[in-house]
Structures are given as C-alpha cells and as structure tokens.
Symmetry: D2
Subunit: 280 residues, 4 copies
Amino acid sequence: MLMELRASATYELSVETFLALMIEPALAGPEHRVVDERLVTSPTPFSELDRDLYGNPRRRLVAPGGTFRLEFVATVDAVPNRPIPPDAAQVPPREIPAEVLVYTLPSRYCQSDLLARMAEGEFGGIETGGGRVLAIAEWVRRHVEYRYGTTDSLTSAFDTATERIGVCRDFAHLVIAFCRALDIPARYVSGYALGLEPPDFHGYAQTYVGGAWHNVDATFEGVRPALVPIAVGRDAADVPMLTLWGRGRLVEQSVEVREATSPPAPADSGQSSANPHESP
Amino acid sequence: MLMELRASATYELSVETFLALMIEPALAGPEHRVVDERLVTSPTPFSELDRDLYGNPRRRLVAPGGTFRLEFVATVDAVPNRPIPPDAAQVPPREIPAEVLVYTLPSRYCQSDLLARMAEGEFGGIETGGGRVLAIAEWVRRHVEYRYGTTDSLTSAFDTATERIGVCRDFAHLVIAFCRALDIPARYVSGYALGLEPPDFHGYAQTYVGGAWHNVDATFEGVRPALVPIAVGRDAADVPMLTLWGRGRLVEQSVEVREATSPPAPADSGQSSANPHESP
Amino acid sequence: MLMELRASATYELSVETFLALMIEPALAGPEHRVVDERLVTSPTPFSELDRDLYGNPRRRLVAPGGTFRLEFVATVDAVPNRPIPPDAAQVPPREIPAEVLVYTLPSRYCQSDLLARMAEGEFGGIETGGGRVLAIAEWVRRHVEYRYGTTDSLTSAFDTATERIGVCRDFAHLVIAFCRALDIPARYVSGYALGLEPPDFHGYAQTYVGGAWHNVDATFEGVRPALVPIAVGRDAADVPMLTLWGRGRLVEQSVEVREATSPPAPADSGQSSANPHESP
Amino acid sequence: MLMELRASATYELSVETFLALMIEPALAGPEHRVVDERLVTSPTPFSELDRDLYGNPRRRLVAPGGTFRLEFVATVDAVPNRPIPPDAAQVPPREIPAEVLVYTLPSRYCQSDLLARMAEGEFGGIETGGGRVLAIAEWVRRHVEYRYGTTDSLTSAFDTATERIGVCRDFAHLVIAFCRALDIPARYVSGYALGLEPPDFHGYAQTYVGGAWHNVDATFEGVRPALVPIAVGRDAADVPMLTLWGRGRLVEQSVEVREATSPPAPADSGQSSANPHESP
C-alpha cells in the first residue's frame, strides 16, 4: 500500500539549541520501503546521524535561536499490517534473546511490577501465546475510553489501569505493562498510521511471541492497516519525535497520513534554503 | 455478645508532647453497650475530652518527655453485625442528609473521582442499592489479596485498585472509593473486631443505603461477627488511634479482642500511678 | 472598600441533576459586609440552604437535564486585607481549640506528613509565630512560578514542592502543607480577589497564629488588597464552587471582580425567569 | 588497595526459574583489577554469559524449584576513588557522545523533567562543570537524611526531593535527576564499597564532565575510598543484582566488604557441589 506522510513542526528557540530528531520511517525490513523522502529543517540544515541506545537512527542538529521549522514528507510502500497468530507460542524467558530481555522489565511508564497481580487476575486463566496477547489488547480496547486531551506526559500504565481513559500512547503503555507482567516481551513504537482522528503521530505496542515481534494496536478493533514505525523503545520516554536540550517552545505541529494516489507534493521550502536528505 | 477488648501501646517521647487518643468504643446506639471500661495512661493521666470534626470523642493529654504508656481494657456487649439488605434502596443524591453528603466526595485515600470509570465499568450494570454494595465488597474480597506488611501509610484506593494486595485499611478504602464513585455515601470506621489474624485494630467501611449506615467488611467472606466502632471519618487519615503533635516513636503496640467468658482482667498499672477513667 | 463581584457559569446536564453551590461571600464578621447580592439559576430556581462539615453555607438545587446557567452578582463592602503581625505567637498544639485542630493534619492536597523534613530544613531555623508564616509565604512566592494551565486537579503540595510551578490553588496548598508540618493550623479559602490576571475565582490560605485566623496569599508580593471569602476547608477538595452529582459538562465560566464606583449592574436574566435570592 | 568482597543470597523458588545475575566486578579499566574471583551457584551451576542493553556482563542460568543459593567471593585490587576536579568542564549537549546522550534523559526513578525548576533554582547560579556537580552532591548530602528502612522500591528522586530521607539508592537517584535536569549526563552504578553500615550492596552516581565519567557518592562527606562497580544503567531499575522471571522469595542475603590483609577465604560449598567460575 502506497502511503504519503507529512509531518511539520515549528519551535521558538530562545538561544542556539542542540536537537535530536526521530521522525523518519527508519526500520528497514519487510514492513515498508521508503519510495521517496525529504526532510527540510530551517534555518539550520541537518547535520549528523547517529543511533540511540535501541539502535534507532537519530538526526542531530544545532539550531540558532529564533524560529526553527522542520518539515518531513515521504512516500512509503507499506506492507499491510498482519494480525498476531493466536497460536504463536510464548517464548520461555530463558530462550528470550539477550537484546530482547530488556523488554520484559518495568520502565518509567510501564510499571509491570506493580501490575503483576492485576495481569495475573485478568489474563492468568487464558492460554499463553498469541491468544493471550490478543486478549490483553481486546481488554484494553474495551475498558479504556479513547479521548483526546484527557492525559498528559505524566500519565503511566499504572494510572490508565484505573482511570481508563487516554490516547494511543496510554493504550500502548497499558498493553505493554500487562504483557511484561506476564513475561511477554513488549516494546513501544512511535510511528505513522492511517485513519487517526485527529491526525497525529501514533504510538502502539509490539510484543515478542513465536520468536518475532508483532504489532499490537489496542486503539483499533481488529487490525489497523499499515503501521509505519519510526523508532522503538521501552516506552514513550525513549522515542520522542524531537528532543531539545535547552529551552524551546512548540508553536505548531501537524501530521498528515493518507493513501497515496499520486506522487507526493514537494515540501514547502519557503523562506529557508531547502535541504533534502534521503533516509538510509 | 460479650466481648473483651484490650489495647496497649508504648511511646518514647523526646520532649513534652500533646497527644489525642481515639481508642474507646464511642458511638452510642444499638451497636454496642460498654459494660466496663478502663483507660490508663502513664505517667500522665488523661486530661480533657473534646470532639473532632466528625463528632468522634477524642481524649487530649499532655505527656512529659520519656516513656509514655497507655492501656485500655473494656468489656462490651455488642449487637451481632448484620448483613446489608440487598434490597436497601440507594438514596438519590438530593435526598442525602446534609451531614452525610461529605461522604460522597473524594478524600485523601479514597480518590473516587479517579476511579469513576472503573467503578462504572465493573458495577454499572448491577442494580443500584444494597445489592450493588454487596457486589462491590465481593469484588474487592475476590480481587485483592490480604497480606500483612505489603502496604504502608501512603497506599491509597487508587493504588490498591491496581496493585491488588493490602490489609484491612486498603480493602476499606477501595470499597469506599468505588461506592462514592457511584454516588453511594461511604465512610471509614476504625474499630475492634473478633477474629483478626494477627490481632490488631481493625478498619472497615460503612455505606449509607436505605436511609441508614451499614457495615461493609470486605476482608471477610459473609458477615464478620461483632464489629465495635471507635471513630468514623472520610478515610483512615481522619481516625488515627493516636495523634501526636511533635516527635515520638512507637515502641510497642498490642491489641486483643475475644469473646468474654469472664469479667475483664484489670489493667496492668505497673510502675505508674493508675488513673482509671470511664467513658461517657 | 466597595467591590463588585460577578460570577457566571453554564453547564450542559444530560439528565436531571442534583447540585450544590458555594459561590456567595458567606463568612460574616469583620471581613466584609454584603451590600447587595443576587443569585440567578435557570431554569431551576435555588431550592434549599444547608451547611457543610466545615460550617460553610451551601445552596442545594435540582436542575433538569439541558442547559443550566447560574449568575451571581454582589456588591460587598470589604475591609482591607491586613498583614500577619510578625510577632503573633504560635499557639502550642495543646491550646489549639478543638475545632481548629483538624487544620494541623494532612489532607488530600496538603500532605504535611510527607513535607515534614523539608519544612523543618527550610524554616526550622526561623523563630516561630507570625514571622515564620511570613517566611513560608515568601519562600513559596519566590520559588514557585505562577503560570496558568500548568497544573490540574491532581496537583498537590507534594508535587508543587518539587515542580515549582502552578496557580493560586497550588501556592495555597504548599503554604498550608508547610505550616501544618510545623504544627501551625492552616486552611484553604476559596474566594474573590481584586487584581487577578486572568480574572477567576481565587484560592488562598489562612493560618492560625496569635489566637486568630490570618490570610496568607503567596501569589502576591506584600498584602493583596481585599480578599472576600466564600468557604473554608482543609484544602481545595472541600470548597468547590459547584458540586454536581451525576454527569455534566462545564460549557463556560467567567468571573469579574472590581472596585465598585457605581451600583452593580443587574444580572442578565435573559431567556430564563429571573429568580433572585438574598443571602442570609 | 586490596579489597575482599563476599556476597551471598538464598532464594526459595516454587518452580524451575530463569535468573540473571549481575554481581561481579565487571568494568575493566583503571578502576580495579580482579585478583581472584569465585562464583558458586547451587544446585545449578552458572550456564551462560551475555550482555545487557548497557553493555554490562550478565550471567544467565536456570535453577530448579527449591532452594537456590549463590555465593560470590573476590579479591580486587582497586584504584583509590578520586574526587571530581572542580574545573572539569561541562560538555555542551551537542558534543556529548551518542552512547552517553541517553544519560541526559529522564528515567523511571530519575524524573529530571519534573525537577527542572528546582534544579535551576538551587544550582542555576553556580558555575557549570565539576564544581556544579560537587555542589549538587553536597546539597543532597546535607538535605537528605540517611536512614535504613525508610524507603522502598517505589521511591524515586521526585519523592526524595521532598521527603528528604532514604538510602544510598535514593541519594544517587536525586543526584542523577538534578544533573540531568541541568544537561549533565549522569548514570547509576551498582557496586561494592568499603565502610557501609550495615554492609550491603552499594549504589552511587557517575556524571560525565570534562569528557569522562566521575564517581559521585552523596552518602559520604568527601571521597569514599575504593568503589568497585558491578554494572551501570539509567537508574537502579537497570542494574538489579538478581532478576528472576517467575516467582521466588529472597530468604537471606549478606554482603561483606573489607580491606584484604590475607588471601580471600574459600567459598562455602556446603551441601552443594561447588562450581567455581572465573570472570572473564
């Protein structure tokens, strides 16, 4: 499926500021193929690419004080999202690969230690494996109300387990916390998705069953078509779209995702010198 | 039923200290009749009786620095605890008496506002009235594990809703929070009970249905026999056995409750000048 | 000083709803004299007056489903707010009146138990009495940034002690928590004040030193002129302007406070049948 | 300085359990040289060595249900701990190495985002660099009381900033959170130290100034001699001595650290078949 992504944001920076961006579809592999991609940052062009602790590519740049604007446009050929096979087997902890093991432990927003009894009580009676993950996702979808503006950057899975309202990030954190509480590796993915209302960046979970990572999006009944990942981490704290060392104020942000029926429109290079970069 | 109560505690006070005690069975009425009661505080005798915000009698005294010891012994003729009639009607908010209305609002350990969706989700489908209260108590009893030493004075109903482990105080707070979230007045009672293991002061809930307060003790399957109330409040924060303005350290505390088969033993007046007081 | 107050709010109620209002200047005494007052609620007229646990007058009414609007207009002759005398003596706990003692204990938003060491560390070296209260207020004013929209109904003194940003309610909670941690009775007051930007209901603290309650408003350098109290309680949880048992949505709210130079304008009785009531 | 370390623990496992151990001095380099080391786990011998996300060596093993005991004994030649040079320069964010950048971000127990204003208020006026880190450590040492048994695994830097009591872990978390809030990379180290009372595993901070990591131990006035690191991470959540997937109960644990004056005593191989392993 051909998808067109567009994301832009404007910041006011009081002084020269170091920034790191994670905004581009970045996990290679079967999930998607980037057909065309353009990132424009102005007035500063992109400077350097590195990788974070989880292996996510990250763009580093230094922007002068004043208005900083970024615009990203891409066309992606995405593989349709697949459901988790209910019979995918849970991997015994001892067989979990070393680099996956970290995703069984509690993290800032996914306090799986505190949710252990609740997870056992709600899902302990369901057979392990893909079916148990599906039951967790379904429980979260049915028990938590999706409503914009009800939660904030302090809200954690521990809160959502009781407050039962939130946005995609909160849904993902609760799925992750329940999975980890039952020794199922689970991680957070920031990305792009079709069909969000209002349009925004998306956050969803991935769980490791049957020896592979599978998408879990509890904000959607059934399987949300076409999820395009940007970065993975233990929870949303690890994968901010933009990190800013110093003071800055977000003035405006917008995201658009749609099925591409025509070649993507060019980025608005307006007052700045355009500075296109291809992703690796 | 004739019950014998004995409670004692020893504190080390670094300086002269003002204390307030709520330790004596104090609500008159049908629930119990105090046959015999003795309170010994040493070295300081009891000084003054007043009432707190909720109408609970409270003994005030000033103890010199050093070891402060209190011992309370009573024989009480308790009316057997009765179950809530399942058909007791929920009182519409507008008909709730002015002095009861405060028990529909959130308090420090019973954040009914935050538990509103969970309460609605779990109990919204059950007919209102006594039956709904019984369903709440049964849910708490089945979902929360009773285990000593797992929670502390910071633990609230919000925590217990997810952590699902605790002691009598935590059980009561969760029952209260769920009830208030559904507009059922509910309050916390500190008191004495038969059959606690290990023996200790007890905490349980009361809910207002059918125009009267009814005991709810979710730590017990069925109806715990003979609850003897000391004081009521919005939650445990309101009804401490002893409040101490200043620094002091609890050295030892013990509680005994049993069916009386003989007249109560005399208080140990040991090294102090005994100072017996009858409750009003 | 002659002040003109005007407060209005509109709610959408999905069903017939029981409401309680605390919106009128209500503490008699030297602080103010109500010259003229009008409360219009539509479509439902005011029905009943009672008192809450703290003695605050409270108006109860039942509004039908649909739009509910209230408008309150008053002219008040307010006594200028006075500073706390620095030499007002701290009242030893044992001499605190029974009805004041509750204001030395922790409450939902003022966890004075958790702030005890911080309070002792910051203010323990300052002489007790009015001067210590003034030092607390000054500390809060200097260390906490006043900014609208940064905190919400979950924010407590415990949070503000570290986050150091908030609105009047947060300033008051922190002052109260520090005072109680040092055995100084302190309570929360909702009311009206001159000079708020943007105009809104106000919240401030009162502390009990020298045998009387004194206003403490840490959002203002020096002494804010003319505070008109509505209700007092342990913290903001006790004194909501409007409590609503059931579902309802606030559509609009506005508050105006100014020095009166002319008789107050009549309430807008618009589409509803006007229903004026005088306060007692 | 020659140090002798001994750590042992006993667990009751209800079923066959997968475990990961991080207990051996593991960072090579100038800090220490392991002279002799023996790890005995019984009944199961050590099985596999891998590395965690932060590069810490980790021993994996599968223990049968029943009593599981581990004993570790080592002699280490430790380089004396050095103070941070006050004139070590703060590294501008843009020059922080990619693998260090993660240590500028908030984590579960070190919520540097929430402490930003407090950090700026307390330390913003102090010149950047090593001197600022020393000021932070000194502030924590003076404002937080060290007392065993006052905090637990839920306690975070956000709590300690206000509660001002705790153990080494809490001291380290607060130092780390303040440093990160001021863009100074800071991480948590679990390890062994001389002079702890009671003897236990130790936790302390490392901060990155002047282009290198430096130890910061706010539980000690001046410079604690000889710190031997086991593992590093964002906070204590990352470096547990033992992680256990499944149910298990710690029965006993002990740690001994002393200056070695003689060769280390042999491990007690008691009822189990001894199974010595050398670290790499």
